[in-house]
Symmetry: D2
Subunit: 321 residues, 4 copies
């Protein structure tokens, strides 16, 4: 029997590509309500107001959209070493060490079965607020600024993959992560798998690519403190001309209250609130959702919107289909 | 350097003593909104509607009030063995194995420096809802019944101790737990210490006994999904003649939104909501609150109510003071 | 220029017909959370916990579903007399005086253009709570019981009519009510009209009958204090097997946060929250929504569900279509 | 019997004096979240985002603090004339017509028994948003900007008076307003009186001056849509160094959820949420609160803070006491 002790501490950051950098940056700071920690030649580094690291979103100028890479921070140098050994033994495609960027030290890079780039690292840069950004309460990472939707922290990332079962095996082996919920299709295939390396209900999701894309991003999500923050954000998105794709509503899977919008370059972004729900059982068994379950729609009956099954970033070129 | 890997998975349950059993049971089921899993000759076993174990509150008929014992579930049999070895090596007072009760298998018992009884175990009894108590969504442990305050799960227990520094050493050694926040008094003494074995911001607290009691309980807390659940609960408590001691307000320490009431026998019970705040950093440094910090009151300025410093259970007999 | 002084004080109650009386009564008391004031041979009299009159919903055993009658209370005996004079002068079909029922004194009955029965009255029966139902705060009509969704008070009723423009003329003339918002179809017809006799944004709505019915009810709505009450109610409906038709979401028209369900006999029932929005301007001009506006869906983009255009009570018999 | 038909439509605006104009204006726009409609030589004109008039707060540079004047808008020119006749017949001190300012046409001015200046008018200036300030939904007066606390509209003003019974008589006679709740002291004096000219539970309050001041302001209040808006505002106030005097909590009288802060010049400002509570009964009888009732504190037991009884603006000079 393996013990549930994890090696990875938490989802750390996602690099998102945008071909409308200025508009995307304006959206993420003014409307979505992240804070800008710094910028370099290619990227802006952003974080929720109560995140201890330098950034959780690296927004990068590119000729396309989608995900640059996904990063997890390890529990310790020893845990990091264990993960690297497991990855190298797994046969996963390995990029090896990179030097890090403005937000952290050297990181080990590798790929999932569909070419999404992941990195894991331990050496990080803690965010140090200057006097104007220091919170009134000393247990907060920085001042609550109340700008835009102002979520507290990154929550999870959802990738698309052609073979969810392959992703499951990869996540269990390479990340040492556990599956908390999954969709079991009647065909025997997996429709989606939800992972967590800690007590969060999920931090990484892979759902089936149905749009003929490859290596695509489905969405990135930040967490709010209350459901009311999401209802209020819906008005903010409305007033700022942001495309609201679906929600607010409550997911059946994982039970989180959600709202999906598209940032200016087309990447899907979610706000979610999970209430007090955590996975505390060390011997949690994955919750299995069947196609029959899924036909009931979301928790309160909302039908899943069609674009949710097809839209990912980068978009699939017309000629490719 | 020690790794942050924990051995204990989570706070599992608290045994609360009551000398007004029927009234206490009515309060906890009808007003506070826990569910009754079962009863034996001395105790009622209660749980929040989304807890996976048989019970998180064991309410026991007694000639007095206060805490019977506090239980943590271990991550695995191996982790349990590691903890027991550490406890036995620590010099803590050990009771040894007990057979368990309606809610779990055998457990290992020992004491904190002030005589509060703790137990740790791995073998548990999962709650199995019958058809009428099964939730509409299969990822919930049982049906959301919406009765009374209806919190989701147990959150933490706060004990009183004459020497908080001694409790800190005990908690780090015996529980293998980490300190997330603490109060550093000008005298050099610790005023309070907040522990967590997982990603929750805290699950166990020890604050200084100032009422000449010994081995007393300060309060037990359950978590709600939203702050609105607590505001609504305040009206329910008001309409049911429950003594509201203080709140709703927001704690400076740990930042949770709180409401404190006394159940019919006098034990203090809290409802709390922590929003999306978690301790995800593997190298989290304890937040240190000074007396100067504490003089600012709670987060939004509420002064701490006097009874909060003196009331504990069992009450101190007049002759004892 | 006419002055905005109204003669009718507020929507008082709706009589709803049910061919599943016991199930409907169980739904309205246990799940929806109204209180039962009394019963007579044919009907149960129900009210929200903070309503000053004996009832706001008269639930009547019948061989069908839909609306029995809609009642408004007048501002004074003089105002009632003015309204009756206006009704009699209008050519509306008049039933004349009825003796009232358990909840109020004599009432004057008449019809709208589609046969829905209305009554207006001044003499009422104030609800007098017994000791067990008295609120802890003396400015509340009765104890907040927290049962089910537990809305505070009736909000509005929505009827279906073949000719909304005719209803508008009738409402302005007979009720002396003002239009706060309306839908102007491209064809020149009105698609819906929202009325208010006081500072509420609306209390009576007529939308176009598209289902070949006649004299039908679209829905009855009660108001909650917070949007969170509606999110919580959604879980209560889900756990009780209630058909959730659409929502929670926010209306574009009138801006209220809504949730629509069908009670066991099929009558549509809404919960709504309007926040702090009131119509305070004495010279308010109706807000006009065009078909182009309506194509944007609800406030945050939800498409109006198809059954919303066709389902009314009583249902249209198959042979009739 | 007099009919409840009112002549005044609603509280329109309050002129607040500040001897720290720039700081006060920064507070009201950036932190409290009103919008600036315009400025003239002495004053800034501010409004909540969903108010139809040009302004509801006139912030005026002065050598002191407190209230400049309080304005109500009449229902019609005829209603205005009726009020003026009643005022002139009452013996109240009359200033007569003034020309109005940026926000409305000519207004009739008079005083309450303690020298607070009131004005009533009908001719107003509707706020016309430019393209950038137009709301996405056409039934809103302007764009929801989400800046700071961002309340929707003005709610009420609370003045201090040496003789509350005299104020009651004045308010009933001169404003034609009705009393919805009051405090009856054991001495036979009135401790406070709550008025409403419409369906709001109150728009004008007079409580007893206990600080040896004269003609003072107790506070001005704006309404939020949800209680959560107030909890969120508490964090915004905290982070901006605003003095939070008391709250958030729920009033026993009128039942509104409240938060009191002091703007930079010392004027007390409240945010309040009344849920769905309205005064709809045309024959509402004032709710009478005794000293015994008041000893229970606020709704959930919070003791009234001492400064609430003494602090008003302008402050009483030391030499005057």
């Amino acid at each position: 029997m393996t013990e549930p002790c994890h090696d990875l501490a938490h989802l750390a950051h996602v690099e998102m590509l945008t071909d409308r950098f200025d508009e995307s940056l304006d959206f993420f700071t003014r409307v979505y309500g992240l804070k800008l920690s710094g910028e370099d030649a290619t990227s802006a580094y952003l974080r929720g107001w109560d995140e201890y690291e330098f950034h959780s979103l690296k927004l990068t100028r590119a000729g396309t959209t989608g995900v640059g890479h996904v990063a997890f921070r390890a529990d310790s140098p020893e845990a990091l070493a264990r993960r690297i050994a497991a990855i190298e033994a797994s046969g996963a495609k390995v990029h090896g060490w990179v030097e890090g960027d403005l937000g952290h030290g050297r990181a080990f890079r590798f790929e999932d079965p569909f070419g999404h780039v992941f990195e894991i690292y331990y050496d990080t840069l803690r965010y140090r607020p200057d006097a104007g950004d220091r919170a009134a309460l000393k247990n907060l990472a920085s001042r609550y600024h109340g700008q835009g939707a102002a979520p507290r922290r990154i929550d999870h990332v959802n990738l698309l993959g052609e073979d969810v079962a392959a992703f499951r095996a990869w996540g269990e082996t390479c990340l040492g992560s556990r599956v908390t919920e999954l969709i079991q299709l009647d065909s025997g295939r997996l429709g989606g798998v939800w992972f967590s390396v800690n007590n969060k209900t999920y931090d990484l999701v892979c759902t089936e690519e149905r749009g003929r894309g490859h290596g695509r991003l489905h969405h990135v999500t930040y967490a709010t403190d209350q459901r009311e923050d999401i209802l209020r954000a819906a008005d903010i998105f409305l007033e700022n001309g942001v495309h609201i794709e679906t929600g607010p509503h409550k997911h059946a899977i994982q039970g989180s209250f959600f709202l999906y919008v598209w940032e200016p370059a087309g990447n899907r972004v979610e706000l979610a609130n999970g209430g007090a729900r955590l996975i505390l059982a060390p011997d949690w068994e994955p919750v299995v959702w069947t196609e029959a379950d899924r036909k009931k729609g979301q928790a309160w009956g909302l039908k899943t919107i069609e674009s949710f099954h097809t839209h990912g970033t980068p978009p699939v070129k017309a000629g490719a289909q």
